[in-house]
């Protein structure tokens, strides 16, 4: 299966801008600036940590960093698609927990293949996403309420089912565990998989009509309606996708850790949303790229790992994540005001 997992990872980074604009508009430059500064912060952080503790960047260190980041990157990719439509999916953490546990129970003591587990995870996650999505789009219940409700419902189900038990790595088939620990050419499978999903999503959002429509919906829902965009169907699909990706992440969680308790990934939803927003996707929808969101996820993961290496209390991790989130949201507001004014001025010249 390694052959199928490798393909398009690095290809798409240098495509033309979404609008196909020559030179790029001011707003796009601002967005790039955001991605650039996150990238720079990331590099600085890695360098600084490495100087203090060189083991941070030895073979094992890099591998750990990539492994740690891949699940968050995956979840951030799914979340981005939802946030772009001016919605939010707070249930992702619980979906990861549920699918990881469900996949674990399903394969314990059997010799199912890794592909079966992945498909099962994706299917289960899609169902969760469809429920949230249907309530938000067709039920017209605010996304925050629906997905917070889903978070607790799924968590409850998970706990009731697990009943304090856990999945033991010893019972998980080797084929599945290999997916979590194996690698090709020194690169672990997990980050490769995440990169594939990320690149495919980025490509879809830019090259396909329905991808652009997600941006339109987030940018101006009323105008989207008048433009004849099937808003509800698109939003439903966005949630199904976010759910599917969370389900995939759940299956990978099982593959990576082998041992799974009922509340795996508990509380991750906020980290995921932070990663997305820090990465430049506006919480009000319509702006940003999944590449940025992935960078955000990478940054947050690296901060976590760096703090461990630097032997700083992990409580700081939450505080820093929170501070970054606030900073991101406030710069978004300020920058948006500035660009509006600048563009207005420019349009007069």
């Amino acid at each position: 299966m390694s052959a199928t997992l490798r393909a398009p990872e690095p290809a798409d980074t240098s495509q033309p801008s979404p609008a196909g604009a020559k030179g790029g508009s001011l707003a796009e430059k601002v967005l790039r600036l955001r991605e650039f500064s996150i990238g720079a912060a990331l590099v600085l952080l890695i360098l600084a940590t490495w100087l203090v503790n060189p083991s941070f960047l030895d073979d094992q260190g890099i591998k750990d960093l990539l492994l740690n980041a891949s699940i968050l990157v995956l979840l951030a990719t799914g979340q981005s698609v939802v946030v772009l439509t001016r919605n939010i999916d707070l249930s992702v953490g619980s979906v990861v927990g549920l699918t990881a546990f469900a996949c674990g129970s399903f394969v314990s003591g059997t010799d199912h293949s890794a592909v079966t587990v992945l498909l099962l995870g994706i299917a289960l996650g899609t169902v969760c996403g469809l429920v949230s999505g249907a309530l938000v789009s067709f039920g017209r219940v605010p996304a925050l309420v629906v997905t917070l409700g889903m978070l607790y419902v799924i968590q409850g189900l998970d706990h009731a089912w697990a009943h304090g038990e856990q999945i033991n790595a010893a019972n998980v088939p080797d084929a599945v565990l290999t997916l979590g620990s194996g690698s090709v050419l020194g690169i672990p499978y997990l980050p490769i998989l995440s990169a594939v999903v990320l690149a495919a999503t980025a490509y879809f959002l830019r090259a396909y009509g329905s991808g652009r429509e997600l941006y339109a919906i987030g940018s101006n829902p009323e105008a989207a309606r008048l433009a004849g965009i099937p808003i509800r169907r698109r939003v439903l699909t966005a949630y199904a996708f976010s759910g599917a990706v969370a389900g995939l992440a759940g299956a990978l969680w099982l593959a990576r850790f082998g041992t799974v308790v009922a509340d795996a990934a508990n509380g991750w939803e906020l980290t995921v949303v932070s990663a997305v927003v820090v990465g430049g996707i506006a919480i009000t929808g319509g702006v940003g790229t999944v590449w940025g969101a992935a960078l955000g996820a990478l940054l947050l993961t690296t901060i976590g790992s760096a703090l461990v290496v630097l032997k700083v209390s992990s409580f700081w991790e939450q505080a820093i994540t929170g501070a970054l989130l606030l900073a991101a949201i406030s710069t978004d507001r300020v920058v948006r005001g500035r660009t509006t004014r600048a563009l207005r001025k420019r349009s007069r010249q």
Partner: protein
């Protein structure tokens, strides 16, 4: 440009309404309306603010579903489940309120939902870009297809809307006040494009509060009043006065009821105001009791001057004084406190809180006067709102309804009311009667005139030349960011103002 249909007159209607009714709660917006649009014919829809014009259009466009009656497409009953159905049937619509995606490029805005595709269903970005460039050329404007829509002036927003409607081969072109924000030359350009489409066989439905435009462009007119059909007739042989009488149901008084001005002391002083790349070195005074018009082409920098005077934008240099007191730059709060009020051009974005009620919106700026120990007095808010609603003949259901429920023109009136209610000593109005029907237009003019007679200093930005000439004691003309002429009322006429506005030399006014 002949306005008659091609030979073999009276072709079958392409799109028609038969006995259509539509209500919003207790408001009956349309009652038993029938209308026929024919290929190769331009049809006008006239009526006061709130008469039901936009509602009718949205019914044709598949946005509203009628409660009674049918939409007929090529004579067959058609049910549009949404705007996409109507579009697929070849109906292009320019809505009254801009419907742009601020975060997306102009090109994407125009082709959203129907981008040209290449292999595997992917968007052909290059084709989208090129087609947008071609549309801009056809409309004779210089807008970069790749720039985002955020920050576009309303005139430019309107151009993008027009380009959107022209971007596919429409059999029916429906336009809800497309010219409200356009200059004369842009309007002329739009009309010639529309004429071409019409002679190629498109049916056109056109709404405007500028009656001259209706007579210029159309052959047939349907008039609505309070949701009911008053008349549907050829324009030939109809006079403007008759049309107005159909709309308002009575004769209209004098159109520009200008009262004699007795200017007092200087209320507003602007000196050498400059904003890099937008306008420079602008100096003028406005005295108490005087209406000064700021004329010029759209894009000359008039609105920007107003914004800078009021402190919404920060000027790079220069000084503003209100009643002798220097104003702190860049602070609208300070400006309001000093007695300045600004009715902005872009009312939807800058002027109103759409979800808030009518009374709340009118009360918004006057909060200080209405406050008792920090609490807003509801009763005071309501009394004031209903007073202004009456003075501006606002058409509404209840004062507690959201402003978003009002018709476009009535929303404009709310913005006016909101600022007039602050009882300012200097009032800056940017396009005060844009989108307002003829009857109320005269009402607004009467109001401005009487306020000035009571000592208010008024600076009025207007692209409506008759309005400028009819209302102003003095006309200041801007051209490309500079104040180029100051023309007293006695000498102001169409020719002198236009000469200065287009930068032609030899205007009779002294250069400022």
């Amino acid at each position: 440009m002949s306005k008659t249909a091609p030979a073999g007159a009276d072709p079958a209607p392409v799109l028609a309404l038969k006995g259509v009714s539509k209500s919003f709660g207790s408001v009956r917006a349309l009652r038993d309306i029938s209308l026929e649009l024919r290929a190769g014919e331009s049809h006008a829809l006239a009526g006061e603010n709130g008469a039901g014009k936009s509602t009718l259009i949205k019914t044709l466009a598949g946005v509203h579903r009628p409660e009674a009656g049918t939409v007929l497409l090529d004579g067959e009953p058609a049910v549009f489940h949404g705007p996409a159905d109507a579009r697929d049937a070849g109906i292009a619509v320019i809505y009254q309120e801009p419907t742009l995606f601020a975060d997306l490029s102009i090109a994407e805005n125009i082709f959203m939902g129907r981008q040209p595709r290449r292999t595997l269903g992917r968007i052909d970005h290059a084709a989208v870009h090129a087609a947008t460039g071609a549309l801009m050329e056809r409309l004779g404007v210089d807008l970069d297809p790749g720039r985002t829509a955020r920050g576009l002036s309303i005139a430019d927003q309107q151009i993008v809307e027009i380009a959107k409607a022209l971007s596919f081969d429409a059999r029916v072109l429906i336009m809800d006040e497309p010219t409200a924000a356009l200059t004369g030359s842009e309007t002329a350009r739009l009309f010639s494009v529309v004429e071409t489409l019409r002679t190629e066989g498109a049916a056109v439905l056109f709404i405007s509060h500028r009656l001259g435009e209706i007579f210029d462009l159309c052959r047939h007119v349907t008039t609505l009043r309070d949701g009911q059909l008053v008349a549907s007739e050829p324009l030939e042989g109809l006079t403007e006065d008759e049309l107005v009488r159909r709309m308002v149901g009575r004769d209209l008084g004098e159109l520009y009821p200008k009262q004699e001005a007795r200017p007092g002391g200087t209320a507003l002083t602007v000196r050498r105001l400059t904003r890099e790349g937008v306008f420079r070195d602008v100096s003028f005074d406005v005295r108490e009791g005087e209406i000064v018009a700021l004329a010029g082409l759209v894009g000359a920098g008039r609105s920007e001057v107003a914004q800078a005077v009021f402190g919404v934008d920060r000027a790079d240099a220069g000084e503003v004084r209100v009643n002798g007191q220097a104003l702190r730059a860049g602070s609208p709060t300070a400006a309001m406190r000093a007695g300045l009020a600004l009715v902005p051009e872009d009312r939807r974005q800058l002027g109103l809180v759409m979800d808030a009620s009518i009374e709340r919106n009118i009360g918004l700026t006057g909060l200080r006067q209405l406050r008792t120990r920090g609490l807003v007095r509801r009763a005071g808010e309501r009394a004031r709102a209903s007073d202004w609603a009456l003075r501006l003949s606002l058409k509404y259901g209840r004062l507690s309804d959201p402003v978003g429920f009002l018709s476009g023109g009535n929303q404009q009136k709310v913005v006016l009311a909101k600022w007039l209610a602050t009882e300012p000593s200097v009032l800056i109005v940017d396009e005060p009667t844009r989108g307002i029907d003829v009857g109320t237009k005269a009402e607004v003019h009467r109001l401005l005139s009487s306020l000035a007679a009571d000592g208010l200093a008024v600076l009025m930005i207007s692209s409506d030349l008759p309005e400028v000439l009819g209302m102003a004691d003095r006309v200041l003309v801007m051209h490309e960011g500079r104040l180029v002429a100051e023309i007293p009322r006695a000498q102001a006429d169409e020719e002198s103002v236009m000469a200065a506005a287009t930068g032609r030399a030899g205007s009779r006014g002294e250069a400022a």
